[in-house]
Amino acid sequence: MLSLFLILFSLIHDSLHAYTDPGTGSMIWQLLMAAGFGLLFYARRIIDWVKSLWSKDISIKDADNKE
């Protein structure tokens, strides 16, 4: 977080532009958060999928052992 801040700060701290809507900054931040949570959503799905494979694998092995 800190490094992101420092990079952004050094890039744009002194750059002032013509009119920008004051709500724009919050909106961009929300879009970035949404993108981050979107990735988290996929990451969780992948983890759940791997877990389900793992548990399936174990239950098949258990069944084989019993036979």
Partner: protein, 483 residues
Amino acid sequence: MSVIDFCSFRDPSGIVLKYNGRILRLVKIEQEQHLRKMVEIPVIHQLIKSRSIPATDILPEKEFKRLENELSSLRHVQFSDFALCLEHEAIPFPSYPYEWAPEMLHCAAEFTLDICLKILNQNLGLKDATPYNILFRGTNPVFVDFLSFETRDPTDQIWTPYAQFVRTFLLPLLVNQQNKIPLNQIFLNKADGLEPENVYQLMSGYKLIKPSVFTLVTLPTLFSRLPQSDQNESMIYQRKKAPSKEMAKFILEHILKGLQKHVRRLMPKQNKSKWTDYFRKEESYSKDEFKTKEKIVLRLLQQLKPKKLLDVGCNTGHFSILAAQNNASVVAIDSDSAVIGTLWREARKSSLDILPLVVEICRPSPSIGWDNAEYLSFIKRSKGVFDTVLMLAVIHHMSVTSRIPFEAIAKKSSELTTRHLIIEFVSPEDPMFRKIVRGRDLLYSHLTQDYFESVWTRYFNLLSREQSGAHRLIYLFEKKDEK
């Protein structure tokens, strides 16, 4: 004579008006279907049942027609534009964020997010998220903007009112917490709260990387300074759809829960001021004197049985609590935000019917907004509401510190109450009186007991008078009939 006040008219979907004490919401033709569907949704019923939103009914067509006839003289209300009228349960005393202690804004913020999360499962959202959508019934928040509920596109992953929530709830709380700026200074100047850019200028050094400041102020300010073409900017505000409903819900839930975390971090600390320990310090009363005063007030309350009471200069609300415990619905005002915050916490903890507000009686909240009529002044809202007014140990502050003449205070006290006034007279010999006079004794030496009685009896009949301290007396007055 009928009395009409326009309470809300900015939303193009409808207007709210107060007509002879009734709260009516006229709904535009294009919103009719949506509204009819909305009142049938179970989560809306649950919110009404839990008193989180006011009880709401659709007026029968006959009554709607009658209303149209009665209001036909209002040239700026084109009845043919409206398809139906909702009647909402009235909230006893409307109040606005510039009259709230930070604790109340914090509670309103938590409440708004709670509602958003509750309705999210039903594919509903809020169009806007501002403290003006919340009123307080005692210490309980009520969401009053029925037209704010909208059907959500289930794949929409953006909470449109995010920036407004930050501006009107989080940043005022942040600035209050970090820079000690009172809420009335923020909201009386800027109805729409604070922009991250405004707050950025108030923060410096390490404060800019504190967790709440960094994500609510620093990053948005820096992002807003990025060079943007008009095309980029309009793209930012376009609806962003997620590939699936589940994903959109997951993202929105996380955004809302992230905001809940911010709100928790911004919980106001219990503030101290020179007035928060007033009753404990025994500066103005010995323990015995205070007990005597308490006995007198309690007896008067039990005798009068007030239904609606205004406590002016309530301090931490010792007597407001006494009134509420005796079944009065109390509005308690004081100019000090710290004492109002203390009273709010106490009243909420004990579920007492007290609405504490930061209002300085000598400089009460003005009528503001469009045409100076959007949010009515404290005095206008108080008219005809209170059957009893309590003014204990406050008139010397009004007459000496704020230099309001006795005649004006007496007239105003008679306008604030519809019936009784319990008022404590503090004579110029009283130590507190002498302290606030600061050596200008000659200016105020005429404020004697005889003069006080001669002025107040112009407006009131004197019912009783009892000694509450060495130089203090408690009077019970009944308002004279107005000629």
